[in-house]
Symmetry: D3
Subunit: 141 residues, 6 copies
């Protein structure tokens, strides 16, 4: 009999400022491209990370949720909460901090902590920017 595979998801929330602005474009191009998002503003972000793995037959867990929570807090929350994403987060500097770019960056941050996350594989990072908009990244193909 095969061991069941389950996805486990944890969410963390943080509040940050950002501005969509691309240095290689002119002010006019930036405004045309990003519209109101070109102006400095901010969000309450939600971030969900999903890990997939076999359910340990003894513990009943894919992974200890405490471990995922700690990794997410250290890699995402501590770096981004109450920050200006364009300038205060070293690994975002020089990027345009769209939700898409954040999802990829968060994936990479958590992936670098793989050794703390047992046998599971990461299958999704969701970044929720507002109650009507979110993105999902499923990792490099």
């Amino acid at each position: 009999m095969t061991v069941p595979i389950v996805d486990i998801t944890h969410r963390e929330d943080f509040s940050a400022a950002h501005r969509l602005h691309c240095d290689s474009l002119s002010a006019e191009e930036n405004l045309a491209l990003y519209g109101p998002c070109n102006t400095l503003h901010g969000h309450n972000y939600g971030v969900e990370v999903t890990l997939r793995g076999p359910v340990d037959p003894v513990t009943g867990m894919v992974i200890n949720l405490v471990d995922l929570m700690r990794v997410m807090r250290e890699e995402i929350f501590d770096a981004c909460d109450h920050k200006f994403l364009n300038e205060d987060v070293p690994w975002l500097v020089g990027l345009v901090p769209t939700a898409e770019v954040l999802a990829i960056a968060f994936w990479d941050r958590v992936a670098a902590r793989r050794s703390d996350l047992g046998d599971s594989e990461m299958t999704r990072v969701r970044v929720i920017e507002s109650r009507n908009n979110f993105v999902d990244y499923h990792g490099p193909s």
Copy 2:
């Protein structure tokens, strides 16, 4: 290095009346089939459309969210908000407006605007009918 692929989702809400009733069935059959949904009633509907595509290395975006928002408002919100779905929406007349049928119809409406949505492909339409019920359509197979 491959360009990352991300899913981006936008949600719009509208309020509408509907009634589940199939003209090819008798009144008794309709009542037996649809139960209380056979009576005229209504919902606050949520509609999510998900587009998948490569993240533009310059803009950091799969698509300009403003474009998706505009398409959804023109094709879905303007047609359905504060309407009686069975009678007021030309492209729903003659259909039984279940959440399943709405999801397929909304997919077709947005797909017809593909030229406004860049290189992305649509991967999901979710119709949320109430806080306990929703459907997902992933397109024709």
Copy 3:
């Protein structure tokens, strides 16, 4: 020592169609007054009823929540769920079923069942029409 006074609130949800239309006005006046709400549409309604009363020192309860739930289901849910409020609910016929009017009507329905609700007094009926709009009625002054 005085007995503590606590407010207890229960929520029920129902889905219904309605139309804002006043028979004493012309079609043009109705449209000008109610705008898109003049057209048949619908909502997922949330209704909260709040009762205030002393906390029974033995049971720790203001009222048995089961009693409030039963009254709300019998008086509100059973009458309104999956209905067309303008025509299917006898005690709403002839009224314009705005959220304001519903709140007052629901208050009266629950108040008529006072004998089933112990020593508490009703202090508020909230009708939530959508995620951005709700009304509160605190009873006749």
Copy 4:
């Protein structure tokens, strides 16, 4: 032309107590493994079951939602609501009631009622343990 395939999801909520404790481990090992979850506590659980199937061209439905609702209430809600999952639910006794284990058990309970669920196949059971944590099970592979 192929018949469209749609996923339909229904959610039920229940409130239960549980404790993560593995009989084959010592008290110290249990505490180290489960941390605060080793202590008796509880949750408002949300359970979503998703069925996938062709949309009936006559009825516009994958399945009658009433059938899914009834199966979920009989198999999940009636068994688990206002219960101590470790002791009161016969088919959970001897298991560690993590969200992962619950998702698998709920899958099996609903799958055993397949004959009540038409031609659809179950594709997902989601167990929402709190507003920041949930798991998904997609069935035996």
Copy 5:
């Protein structure tokens, strides 16, 4: 018989950056006082405005919700959405944009449009800064 009095509430959402910093204090004092909020960050804000008034016996309304919506969009949303509250909103410049200060400022903005809001009186402005924090202002005493 008296005319029933009802409270009607509308909510608008906007996304903005802010920073809690008081010019009359030193950098150290600001940091000690505001902690992480002293750094530039942002939120998805929700704003609720509540109007109280008699229910018009003909229309069934306290006020036309469209009027309240328009006032809130013009006075709050248009001024604050996708803005840096400390610098981009003229009537906030020089203030510390805490939720408390925003609630008072929004009250004043809406109150100045009283002539567009019929016979109702404003009774509450709620500013929701995150899912765990909000403030209510009931007007000058």
Copy 6:
């Protein structure tokens, strides 16, 4: 000119088990009185504490939210999260832990820390037991 008075509310969430059972009643009476709540079960509780006070003209705050958060975590979260309320929380032992009784107990816990909460007065404790049920306590009269 008078200083504006604002209410500020913070929410904390915890997960706990409880059972409604009154030692002075027989098993039959308990079952008749509390129904399914007489059985051991649990909830994800939300607790909101509201403080009212003048907005400091310099800081723009009624109180430093960090102080309220710390008091709520120390007095409520640390004591109740992942606990069995009937037995594990010393100041609840011997009480029937209904939402009403919890609200009163939480009020008393926070009130005892008044010296940490500046000039504000506490005006409300809300205990949210599930998505359809909550209670409010406004303090001893």
